[in-house]
């Protein structure tokens, strides 16, 4: 099978012609299989009219041809593309239904012309007498019952001289010694900016160091965000200083005492 989309030249045909798919015909995607050779529109029409067995036609190459048509024809008419998509969707749905297991049809006549042999209940009289006698004989035999024997909870058990109170006290002692269960936090703990500022301030020294050195290698992304904001706040408050050294911002702890703001 060699489905292919036609060239642009072949698309020079009267558009908006009335077809089986509606007003707009799908693009002339050609499909060639041992059982069908023709355009996508023709395949759609034949399948709809049950003139072609769709099970004999692989649809994956047809879909590929459609994609090829879309990718290689930037000026393609959207109406044509939509018509082709509708035709493909119809074919795929029809094929999907065909591939589903068929429900076994209800037989409409006897397959093996079965008819019960004519007989009457009188034919069984002798057998019934024998069976009745056998049942009576059998009723004089007794077998181990399937539910013989005590159940699991009926079995006797030995507790020696241990009483229920002893067990209860022992259990209470274990409970008293047990550690309280840690309650998991329901949400993430909220980190205070003041605390983070103190952490960053402790990391700063009188020497200039880059941001990487201040944060270290063990910081998580969240730590970095918190600490960076804390550092900015420290700079704003005058507890830290910043300057550029070789185009790299470096930070240091401000050793000079901060000026006090006095409000008169």
């Amino acid at each position: 099978m060699a489905p292919r989309s036609e060239t642009l030249e072949s698309l020079d045909r009267p558009s908006h012609s009335v077809t089986a798919l509606g007003v707009v015909a799908p693009p002339p995607i050609h499909i060639s299989t041992p059982v069908f050779d023709g355009s996508l529109a023709m395949l759609f029409s034949c399948v709809r009219d049950h003139r072609v067995d769709l099970l004999d036609i692989p649809l994956a190459p047809v879909c590929e041809a459609y994609f090829h048509y879309l990718l290689n024809l930037p000026d393609a008419d959207f109406d044509e593309a939509a018509a082709a998509l509708a035709a493909l969707a119809y074919l795929l749905e029809r094929k999907a239904w065909l591939l589903l297991p068929q429900e076994e049809p209800e037989p409409d006549m006897y397959e093996d012309s079965y008819e019960p042999e004519p007989s009457s209940i009188g034919d069984f009289a002798m057998a019934m007498e024998v069976l009745t006698a056998w049942q009576e004989e059998r009723s004089e035999w007794f077998f181990r019952s399937p539910d013989a024997g005590p159940g699991t909870y009926e079995l006797p058990y030995q507790l020696a001289n241990v009483s229920a109170l002893d067990l209860s006290r022992a259990f209470q002692r274990v409970l008293d010694r047990a550690l309280p269960q840690e309650m998991p936090l329901l949400s993430k703990p909220r980190r205070s900016l003041n605390e983070e500022m103190q952490v960053v301030l402790d990391r700063l020294s009188g020497e200039w160091q880059s941001l990487t050195c201040v944060f270290g290698d063990s910081a998580t992304r969240t730590d970095c965000v918190y600490w960076f904001l804390a550092l900015l706040e420290l700079v704003r408050q005058g507890d830290a200083e910043v300057k550029l050294l070789d185009e790299e911002p470096v930070f240091a702890r401000n050793q000079a005492p901060k000026a006090k703001v006095v409000f008169d």
């Binding site: 037989p107 007989s119 209940i121 002798m126 019934m128 059998r138 035999w141 007794f142 077998f143 181990r144």
Partner: protein, 178 residues
Amino acid sequence: MTPVDRVLALLFVADAPAPAQTMALALQLTEGQVEQALEILEAQLHERGPIQLVKLAGGWQLSTKKAYAVDIAAFLKPQASKLSRSLMEVLAVIAYRQPITTGELEVIRGVSCDYGVRALLERRLIEEKGKRQTPGRPILYGTTDEFLHQFKMKDLGDLPPVSEGLPALPEPTDAAAR
């Protein structure tokens, strides 16, 4: 431990007929060895004691001897399990014509068999064996191992002969059932 004792131990705890093949697997013996042990055990128990070895429903099982029935019945007070005539009719037809549908049963008996079939199903003497591939797919019924057990039969080949003219019991087949 002799094979006879080992087989006796299994039969003592078994609450259903135990096939020789199953016992052979459990005891790591050949089926022939188990059959031989069963023969010896059957003879030993027959000679003395209140217990006997019987072959029922495709297996072997220990039971009390008939002579002790009165004592045991007085002790256990078992419920009467005798079938009524109508139930016996339904059961006999099913036993000889299985697998059979309710409709075919009614053709033979000439009366409705719904109650009889339901009662025999509750007693586990019959069971569903499939469906006939005819319009409506009616349920096919056949007898159970419990039926063989209750009527002290080894298999369906032990069914008593019926009057002349009735066709022979068909070979069990799954062709009609699905």
